[in-house]
């Protein structure tokens, strides 16, 4: 895999690659204006991510890595630049179109799991399928499949407060992949877990990656980052070239 030579030229570098890229950012900026102060959370970031990559995104707090993840996930819109997801220009789309793209193409995992507390594990996993209007029979089949794939087959009827942290994150992963997205975005997925449980979660992500899923994972933990295929580091809203992961 080619290493990324620099933030501005990275896109061009990968662009000549024959691998069809899933993500292409061109000069993306995200500006926050709060009163008189102006924060440049993303500063002309260019990046290309090939299909099937597993990328760890590191950087100090406030470096813009979460903002980058939110932009990649179409949760946040860049103030400047161009974003192509699966070859489709995403910036400037209506909220409804962005919602549809998130539904079809993107799965999210969060540090705090974001499970709905009143719903069982199975119901939580079912939620994105309900929003997508999938038939109940088909939903049951896919939920069972996703729970089995994340090793939660026997915990389907438990509510989040009856599950351990690791189990909750597995439910969240099952929910993220049940829609068969092409891109999985993980925001500190091991941040609330002990290292052993964290390793299990990363192992699960690795196996999903081997099965063909593209993953971008924000993390603070160099040990976790090392499990990814490639490492990107951010500082002050810019991408720095990172050491290539093992």
């Amino acid at each position: 895999m080619t290493s990324l030579p620099g933030p501005v030229h990275a896109a061009a570098a990968v662009g000549v690659d024959l691998t069809p890229e899933i993500i292409r950012l061109e000069e993306i900026s995200r500006l926050y204006v709060t009163g008189p102060t102006e924060v440049r959370a993303l500063d002309r970031v260019s990046l290309a991510i090939p299909r099937g990559a597993f990328i760890a995104l590191m950087g100090p707090s406030g470096s813009g890595k979460s903002t980058l993840l939110n932009v990649l996930g179409c949760l946040d819109s860049p103030t400047a630049g161009r974003y192509l997801l699966d070859g489709e220009a995403v910036n400037g789309l209506s909220e409804q179109r962005l919602a549809d793209i998130r539904q079809r193409k993107i799965g999210f995992i969060f540090q705090s799991y974001h499970l709905v507390p009143r719903m069982s594990a199975a119901r939580n996993v079912e939620l994105p399928l309900i929003l997508a209007g999938v038939e109940p029979a088909e939903r049951r089949r896919r939920v069972a499949e996703a729970l089995a794939a994340t090793g939660l087959g026997t915990r389907a009827s438990h509510r989040p407060d009856q599950l351990s942290g690791g189990e909750r994150q597995r439910v969240a992963i099952a929910r993220a992949v049940v829609t068969r997205p092409s891109l999985l975005l993980a925001d500190e997925p091991t941040g609330n877990l002990d290292s052993h449980t964290g390793d299990e979660i990363v192992a699960l992500l690795q196996s999903l990656h081997r099965a063909g899923l593209t993953i971008v994972m924000v993390t603070h933990d160099p040990r976790v980052a090392a499990k990814a295929e490639r490492l990107l580091t951010m500082r002050d809203g810019r991408l720095e070239s990172g050491p290539e992961a093992a």
Partner: protein, 402 residues
């Protein structure tokens, strides 16, 4: 998103906050129950009054001399040529109008009723034998006026129970001679108490043959003629026939016909307006309960900001978020309405059991009104919080910020 899934999700989240759901549903329920109870009471009062009036004499119409509602040139023509309404007119109506079960000519006067030292001023009503059956008068003692030629008269009197008590005391009035307006009468009967109705106090009346009444008060015209039909449907036709007969005899329409039904209709209209006003006031409480729903939904939205963020991350469109929260508000008000209907109907049933004479019953129309009202107010007041949720920016919402 499938409609059944939307409903299930809404119910799940309402079930997650049982106490809050119960309280805000109860606010709607109390309003709905109040509307049903007040409307039920109003409707029952109307039925009660109407039934009472109908009991006074079903299927009746009165014909009075003189045109009270004059209009147009034709009416102008008969002014000054107004004829008396006579016993012969009454007789003609009886003979020539089919379908009448009774025709009673009535005179009215007042005078001193004296027996020995006692004296009392009374209304003196002149009628015929048919009057007792028509007004459903019952006899306490003795008999009513005997049937026979209504032009014959006679010096017989039937007295109301109160009049009998005041004048005769413990004495038996039957067969006693009395003086009414200086004319001698023999008491042949005492009425059972019936109470006041339409301004007529039967309990204090003296009832004599109509011909005698006209003669002793020197009246040329009857006060009015009452006709009764056996079938209420026959009333309009009977009235037309009566008109034809009298116009034929009087060469003009110099009389007025009033049906009992017309009077009942105006009573109904008044009571309907009263019911609507009272129930309308109660309906305001349903609308106020809608504000309670808005409050609850605003709390629900602010508690579930992160959940809204999650829904958006999972690909929920803004519209879907609106629909989810609005459905919650609607189900909340529907639950409240259902509870209120149950309470209202049960209370009316209980009232009907406690007061069997008072016709308390829930009305389907009012139930429909309150259901629509509850849903509309739930929808209107639920929309604002739902839209607020749908507009939350996903990134901030996921972090629990708005």
């Amino acid at each position: 998103m499938r409609a059944s899934d939307v409903a299930t999700l809404a119910v799940e989240s309402l079930a997650g906050h049982r106490l809050r759901t119960l309280l805000s549903g109860a606010a709607v329920g109390i309003g709905v129950a109040a509307v049903l109870l007040l409307a039920g009471l109003g409707d029952a009062a109307k039925r009660y009054v109407v039934d009472r009036f109908a009991a006074m004499g079903a299927n009746l119409a009165t014909i009075s001399p003189g045109k009270t509602e004059t209009s147009g040139m034709a009416a102008m023509g008969v002014v000054g040529a107004e004829r008396d309404l006579t016993l012969e007119d009454s007789e003609a109506i009886r003979r020539r109008v089919p379908g009448l079960s009774a025709t009673v000519p009535m005179s009215l006067g007042s005078g001193a009723f004296r027996h020995g030292e006692r004296r009392r001023d009374v209304y003196v009503v002149g009628v015929t034998a048919e009057y007792a059956a028509m007004r459903e008068l019952k006899m306490r003692r003795g008999v009513f006026l005997p049937p026979g030629d209504e032009r014959a008269g006679g010096s017989l009197v039937v007295v109301g129970p109160k009049l009998a008590r005041e004048v005769f005391g413990a004495e038996d009035p039957i067969g006693r001679m009395v003086r009414i307006a200086e004319r001698r009468f023999r008491v042949i009967g005492v009425l059972e108490s019936k109470g006041q109705a339409l301004g007529f106090d039967y309990d204090e009346m003296a009832i004599i043959p109509v011909a005698t009444g006209l003669q002793m008060f020197d009246q040329a015209s009857l006060h009015h003629v009452i006709i009764q039909v056996s079938d209420p449907e026959a009333m309009p036709a009977a009235i037309e026939r009566v008109k034809a007969v009298l116009v034929d005899r009087h060469r003009g329409e110099d009389f007025t016909i009033i049906t009992q039904r017309a009077m009942l209709d105006s009573f109904r209209a008044i009571l309907d307006a009263l019911t609507a006003a009272v129930a309308g006031i109660a309906a305001i409480s349903v609308a106020v309960a809608g504000i309670g729903i808005m409050n609850v939904m605003l709390i629900a939205v602010s508690e579930r900001i992160a959940e809204v963020g999650l829904l958006k991350a999972l690909g929920a469109r803004p519209r879907q978020v609106t629909v989810l929260f609005l459905t919650e508000a609607l189900i909340l008000s529907a639950l409240g309405a259902a509870g209120g209907i149950a309470v209202g109907v049960a209370a009316l049933a209980l009232g009907a059991r406690l007061w069997p004479d008072f016709p308390l019953a829930p009305s389907a129309a009012w139930i429909l009104v309150v259901v629509v009202l509850a849903l509309v107010s739930g929808g209107i007041f639920g929309l604002m919080p739902a839209r607020r949720a749908s507009r939350l920016p996903p990134v901030e919402a996921l972090q629990g910020r708005r």
